[in-house]
């Protein structure tokens, strides 16, 4: 069975907490906060004013430039404020606050539930629709999808890889989407193949989800989705990393930065993103909702919610029985790469595939000891780096040496910190090193331009 070539770890997947919970559509929130930045790139520009009436699906934030994304209103109601509100990490960002009145949708949106498979649009038209709908990578990276689909001149896509790996422990939103909305997802994949002008698409799914693999294969055969195949992958974290997944599926490695997957003729898209693409292209429905897993051993109940974007985190928590008492760590995402949430008034955004609640004990950091040079971090690193060294260099602020040792290759997967028997927070320092080196590289590039 295929998997990626170097490094990786085997954390227990803990998916049993929420994997059998069907997707639930939850009640509409009464108030939402819509951040103008829910993607990689420039923040969107608000195009509504305080007091404006908006409809569900209406454009409220216009993409600023090519690498940016449109933002739409997830509910109908009145704009009550455009101001800086804290997000889950307590950082203030420009957000549009909307108070709900009824549930009126934009007329152009097709709200019927039957599958619409036929698509005769050209590649350009599809990309335009994806761009208008403000679709970004829903796996967590939040990279604008239309940018990914726009193949630069001189390069050609040969295949589409659909990321159904969900290697992050606990999370099950992609899994539920594959089980319950397979037809929509596969149609979305067909549309993406059309946009990219490729004949082949591979859906990578880890072998800890055998029912998803079987279900997808069945639907593909039954409904005759041509050129799409499901590839079971050996369970291993971080298989969902873009470069790791490409290597697992094709056996080819994308060259180090600044090379992109397209240099190997591959475009990667998440399964949930494929569903969003289907809805945008076939139903004119912009990205206003997503599936969010809410899970954890100590939570009253676990769920997979289909929720409108901008819903405050605490309303989801209330539906799951509220925050457990005592010391807890609330994560936007899973335990390997998720970010700790410290402000539960913050909204659900496009990249939030799940909320994981760990008890203080589960998430406690061990006492740091000296490095015993066991080389376990070197073995675990999926990018072929030397985490022990990069961490030390960043601690000593030797940025040039860190750059020489390719610190910018780091994908922040956390395998090094996870595996360290001395509990050294390797990634904490590597992240600083990576950020500083990236800043230095950009500064040099601008200096060279002048």
């Amino acid at each position: 069975m295929n998997t990626f070539p170097i490094g990786g770890i085997h954390p227990s997947d803990n998916k049993e907490w929420s994997k059998d919970k069907a997707i639930e559509v939850i009640e509409l929130p009464n108030e939402v906060l819509i951040p103008m930045i829910q993607h990689i790139g420039a923040p969107a520009t608000p195009i509504v004013q305080k007091g404006d009436r908006v409809l569900t699906g209406q454009l409220i934030g216009q993409a600023t430039g090519f690498v940016s994304a449109n933002i739409h209103s997830p509910i109908s109601g009145t704009v009550t404020a455009i101001d800086a509100y804290p997000n889950g990490q307590g950082q203030r960002r420009i957000m549009i606050a909307i108070k709900r009145e009824g549930d009126e949708w934009l007329e152009s949106i097709d709200r019927s539930t039957e599958l619409k498979r036929e698509c005769n649009l050209s590649s350009k038209e599809i990309i335009e629709k994806v761009k208008d709908a403000g679709i970004v990578g829903l796996g967590g990276a939040q990279f604008p999808t239309h940018v990914k689909l726009s193949i630069p001149d001189g390069q050609k896509a040969e295949m589409l890889i659909v990321n159904g790996v969900e290697c992050e422990p606990y999370l099950t939103s992609d899994y539920r989407n594959m089980l319950e909305r397979a037809e929509m997802m596969l149609t979305g994949v067909e549309i993406l193949m059309r946009a990219l002008n490729v004949e082949r698409a591979v859906i990578g799914v880890e072998n800890n989800k055998p029912d998803a693999i079987a279900h997808l294969e069945e639907v593909i055969a039954r409904d005759n989705y041509r050129g799409i195949e499901v590839m079971p992958l050996k369970m291993r974290y971080p298989q969902g990393g873009e470069k790791q997944l490409i290597a697992a599926v094709t056996g080819r490695q994308v060259a180090p930065p600044p090379a992109l997957p397209i240099s190997e003729g591959v475009v990667v898209s998440n399964v949930s993103t494929a569903i969003a693409v289907y809805e945008a292209v076939q139903k004119n429905k912009p990205l206003i909702e997503r599936v969010v897993t809410i899970t954890g051993k100590h939570l009253g109940s676990t769920h997979n919610f289909l929720t409108r974007l901008g819903t405050p985190l605490n309303s989801l928590l209330d539906l799951a029985g509220g925050l457990p008492e005592g010391d807890v760590k609330l994560l936007n995402g899973g335990p390997m790469m998720g970010r700790a949430i410290v402000d539960i008034t913050g909204p659900i955004n496009k990249g939030c595939s799940g909320i994981t609640i760990l008890s203080g004990k589960e998430a406690a950091r061990g006492k740091e000891n000296v490095c015993i040079k066991c080389a376990k971090c070197v073995e675990a690193c999926p990018m072929g780096l030397e985490p022990y060294l990069l961490s030390k260099l960043a601690k000593l602020q030797k940025w040039d040496m860190a750059e020489e040792h390719n610190t910018i290759d780091c994908i922040e997967c956390g395998c090094c910190s996870y595996t360290c028997p001395s509990y050294i927070p390797l990634l904490d320092y590597i992240r600083i090193g990576k950020q500083t080196v990236m800043t230095n590289i950009r500064a040099r590039a601008t200096a060279n331009k002048k």
């Binding site: 170097i6 998720g338 000296v370 015993i372 070197v378 073995e379 999926p382 072929g384 910190s417 595996t419």
Partner: protein, 317 residues
């Protein structure tokens, strides 16, 4: 009780591996060898091992407490490993006070001088052994004590060194099972291999260092053996792998974390170096056994191996 929100950068979970568990595994892996050694050589084996372990732990504690004035590091069990390995490198008849001196050199000079676990350039147990070998050559090479049916006061390695043709008269099963002269830990190849398999299974060590050392030694033995009688035989290579400290060194001493390279490529070069140097010393050097010196020399080369042999960067050819 109120809810308290915790925050920290990712990752938020840990694999649960611990330095002390790794060291505990090494000690556990050495237990079969200790048992067979005790069976063959008698209770004194346990006594010497206990003295070595106790003095290593004590010296580490004393140095941390009174010289370095910092938190004691004995809880990581690395001093216990050093103690057991030091004892395994000594003949059973050695006076106990020499063992204490060896422990002092191993911990005091070999380890704590450089800052303790993880920063020592040379394997501490080997530092102790080599010091004793040079300082007390007679006590360190007296193999007569303890072995009931000992033929002579010499090890097989020194016998063969001066009479290579004897190699075909050896009983390999005895060497394998534990009927062989030598240091306490070198007695049974079988026990050492069992421990090695346990370490591989627990992922404490990888195959790279032991296999490259033993492979190099076998290849070397094969070539040299061919020059003796003109025919290629399995006897000399097998003899060299089973005799002396080859297995103990390859599986337990050379794989010491802080003194061995960090990458697989580096480990293989390091292993080949140890294998080759061991064979050169064994065949043409003044000492019958060269394992400890070979590891020592390659320990010194480890920093430079680490510097030039980096792991394969993802996406490069």
């Amino acid at each position: 009780m109120a809810t308290r929100l915790f925050a920290a950068p990712s990752p938020h979970i840990h694999g649960g591996e611990k330095s002390s568990r790794i060291m505990g595994d090494v000690v556990l892996a050495l237990m079969p060898a200790l048992a067979i050694s005790t069976y063959v050589l008698g209770w004194r084996v346990l006594f010497i091992t206990a003295v070595a372990v106790a003095s290593c732990v004590l010296f580490e504690w004393l140095i941390c407490r009174f010289l370095l004035k910092r938190r004691s590091t004995i809880h990581d069990l690395s001093a216990v490993v050093t103690g057991v390995l030091l004892a395994f490198n000594l003949p059973v008849g050695i006076p106990w006070w020499i063992v204490v001196i060896g422990a002092l050199v191993a911990i005091g000079i070999g380890k704590m001088t450089f800052g303790g676990l993880g920063t020592n350039p040379f394997n501490p147990a080997l530092t102790g052994r080599i010091f004793l070998l040079i300082a007390y050559p007679v006590a360190m090479t007296d193999w007569t004590t303890g072995v009931p049916d000992s033929l002579s006061g010499s090890t097989l390695l020194s016998d063969i060194k001066y009479a290579p043709e004897l190699v075909s008269s050896l009983n390999f099963m005895d060497m394998f099972g534990g009927d062989m002269n030598g240091s306490m830990g070198e007695i049974s190849a079988l026990a050492l291999i069992i421990g090695g398999i346990y370490l591989l299974w627990r992922r404490v060590i990888t195959w790279h260092i032991p296999v490259s050392i033993l492979g190099t030694m076998a290849l070397f033995g094969l070539c040299v053996g061919a020059t003796y009688g003109g025919t290629i035989t399995y006897e000399l290579p097998l003899f060299h792998i089973l005799a002396g400290g080859a297995l103990l060194g390859a599986i337990y001493m050379a794989t010491d974390y802080s003194t061995s390279p960090m990458t697989h490529k580096g480990m293989i070069i390091y292993g080949v170096g140890i294998g080759a140097i061991t064979m050169i010393i064994r065949l043409w050097g003044a000492y019958p056994e060269g394992m400890s010196f070979a590891i020592f020399i390659m320990n010194a080369a480890t920093p430079i191996i680490n510097k030039y042999l980096r792991p394969k960067r993802f996406g490069t050819k």
